[in-house]
Amino acid sequence: MRPSWDFGLGPGRLEALWNESAEVRGESPGQLAWKHVKASRAMRACLLLLALVGLTSLFAPLLPLPSPMALALETEPRPPRLFGSGQAWSAADYWELNPLDEKLLALRAKLFGEWQTPAWMGTDAKGRDMLARIVWGSRTSILVALAATLCSLLVGVSYGATAGYFGGRVDNWMMRVVDVLYSIPFIFLVIFLISVLNEYRSELSRLGVGPMTVFYVVIGLVYWLTMARVVRGQVLALRESEFIQAARAQGASFARILGVHLIPNTLSVVIVYLTLTVPSVMLFEAFLSFLGLGVAPPKVSWGLLAAESIEAINPIHTFWWLVVWPAAAMGSTLLALNVLGDGLRDALDPRHGKSNR
């Protein structure tokens, strides 16, 4: 049965109305939030800093930095210096690169030739350039953060949304599982898992699972729990709201309600929560690497740098550059993420938009 009401508007009039309607565009809540973010100087600064960190870590091989891995025969760390240059570099100074990185490295050779920056941030006890180590170290830290984030997004959001939507017994069981996992002290859980899996390192690598993958998966396994709770709470509240009821009354399917109405409306909370997850994952990576359970040399990470810098603090001679630069890099990134998360929470608050209430 085709709808047949007569609205008393001819096709010509409708066309005219359509043209008229095109003249006014509203602002979606997303656009409003973006405007709010752009309007704030602090938020712009944070975004810029994060973009910078992201880009340098992505294009690290392209930069004319000394190798972060190649050792030099030094007896002690050298302080930062602005001028002068070290020895020439060669591709042999880098190892365990993926094909893309090798291409970038080749491009670098074309762009900058032999030239590389002097040790602007000093060198460490093994003669490795600190700036290079910080830039390359950010790659690991960011990758861990992204892996945990992705995991908490995929698993946490779908798990939480399903529990919240069905409610009742389903919700009860699903959330009890989360509670049980939650109640296990999670640092112990991770340390335990990593230690056990390290025992089977050779078996795992035969299966093509490297130690880093294990590390990512274990961290991801832990971080989806909170996300599931956050999303479930949101969905539980939204489920009873009238626009969801209206969609149901129209005959919308479960997938449609979940995908078109529920999940997009939890997105603001999810984004805010993510910006706060990333710093905590980075810190956790640092903590594990510090304990020697995370990243193993020759790979670098911010956590590893922090761990090494501790050794540099001694009563006889403080090699300050080993402590200050990694701390500054990590601190400013974490601060930017936190400020961004806080600002986004305000910007995405639905009450933020003007309402007549």
Binding site: L17, W18, S28, F243, A246, A249, H261
Partner: protein, 333 residues
């Protein structure tokens, strides 16, 4: 007479409550008919189960007991596919215009979504139809690409109505669509409801607190108390002379012309609205009824009166109501 559009029989909805308490009997045995094109008002104090009744009829809650027939089809036995077909014919307008629209959808996608769900029209036709719907509820085309937060309460309620009309329903269930609006806006929306009904031959199940609005909009009125209908009558008759003691009390309460004022409570009644968990024995209204003593042998406490055509006194009006004061007479209709 032909089959009514909506036939509700002994419908009940009980919510289990936590901690071993008795169930909440939000709706407990409601029966009524609604003819095509008819407008039935539903009034009663807050918490008497009006919204729950509406939601159960719409299939948003599964009934605990009883049946709903729409155009002769029993909704409880429908397959998923036929349910979807019924949904096109029965739509809903909610109370809170701030909660009833998805804040992330533009007006265009709000109005075309029902058409998308039911696979009606091509994208272009849908857009033109959204414009026609906007026009029908008195909103200009310039609002098409705007978002809910950019509208006032009255405008949002119009959008909610337009969305409900998109599928060309025969029955519109309205759950207090005016309560959240300012008085001046209320009048406009009431006029819109009147106009739409004339234009498209809609039937309404109209829940409201404002008795003046119900009088203007509804052909018949059902009065609910604690999950049951205590009286149902043509609105002319009911407004001329309320029959049931509860209706009398309700109608003696003067509507307060301020939407933020507390909901009008039935005046002249003793005690609080009873808790639907502890439904009084017999006639649920008897603890508060000013005339319960007039019935001999405490019958009101022992025995629940049936909803039947009754006569209050020898020359009084004949009414369909549930009260022992009026002996059940011969059915007049």
């Amino acid at each position: 007479m032909s089959t009514p559009l909506l036939e509700v029989r002994d419908l009940a909805k009980h919510f289990p409550s936590r901690g071993g308490q008795a169930d909440v009997q939000a709706v407990d045995g409601v029966s009524f008919d609604l003819r095509a094109g008819e407008s039935l008002g539903l009034v009663g104090e807050s918490g008497c189960g009006k919204s729950t009744l509406a939601r159960t009829i719409l299939g948003l809650e599964a009934p605990s007991r009883g049946t709903v027939h729409f155009d002769g089809q029993s909704l409880g036995e429908l397959s998923r596919k036929s349910w979807k077909a019924i949904r096109r014919r029965m739509q809903v307008v909610f109370q809170d215009p701030f909660a009833s629209l998805d804040p992330r959808q533009s007006v265009l996608s709000i109005l075309t979504e029902p058409l998308v769900i039911h696979g009606l029209f091509k994208p272009r036709e849908r857009r033109l139809r959204a414009l026609a719907l906007l026009d029908a509820v008195g909103l200009g085309a310039q609002h098409l690409h705007r978002f809910p937060h950019e509208f006032s309460g009255g405008q949002r309620q119009r959008i909610g109505i337009a969305r409900a009309l998109a599928l060309e329903p025969e029955l519109l269930v309205c759950d207090e669509p005016l309560s959240a609006l300012d008085v001046s806006i209320q009048a406009q929306i009431v006029n819109l409801f009147v106009e739409l009904r004339q234009r498209f031959g809609l039937a309404y199940l109209f829940i409201a607190h404002d008795l003046a609005v119900v009088r203007k909009l509804c052909d018949r009125v059902a009065v609910m108390y604690l999950g049951r209908i205590v009286e149902i009558a043509e609105s002319e008759d009911l407004y001329a002379e309320p029959g049931h003691p509860y209706t009398r009390a309700l109608f003696s309460a003067i509507p307060v012309p301020d939407p933020r004022a507390p909901r009008p409570r039935a005046a002249g009644l003793r005690g609080e609205v009873a808790d639907p968990r502890e439904r009084p024995t017999g006639c649920a209204f008897h603890p508060r009824c000013p005339r319960a003593e007039e019935v001999p042998e405490a019958r009101c406490r022992r025995e629940g009166p049936a909803l039947l055509p009754r006569r209050m006194n020898a020359n009084g009006p004949a009414r369909t109501m549930a009260c022992h004061l009026a002996p059940a007479g011969q059915a007049e209709r």
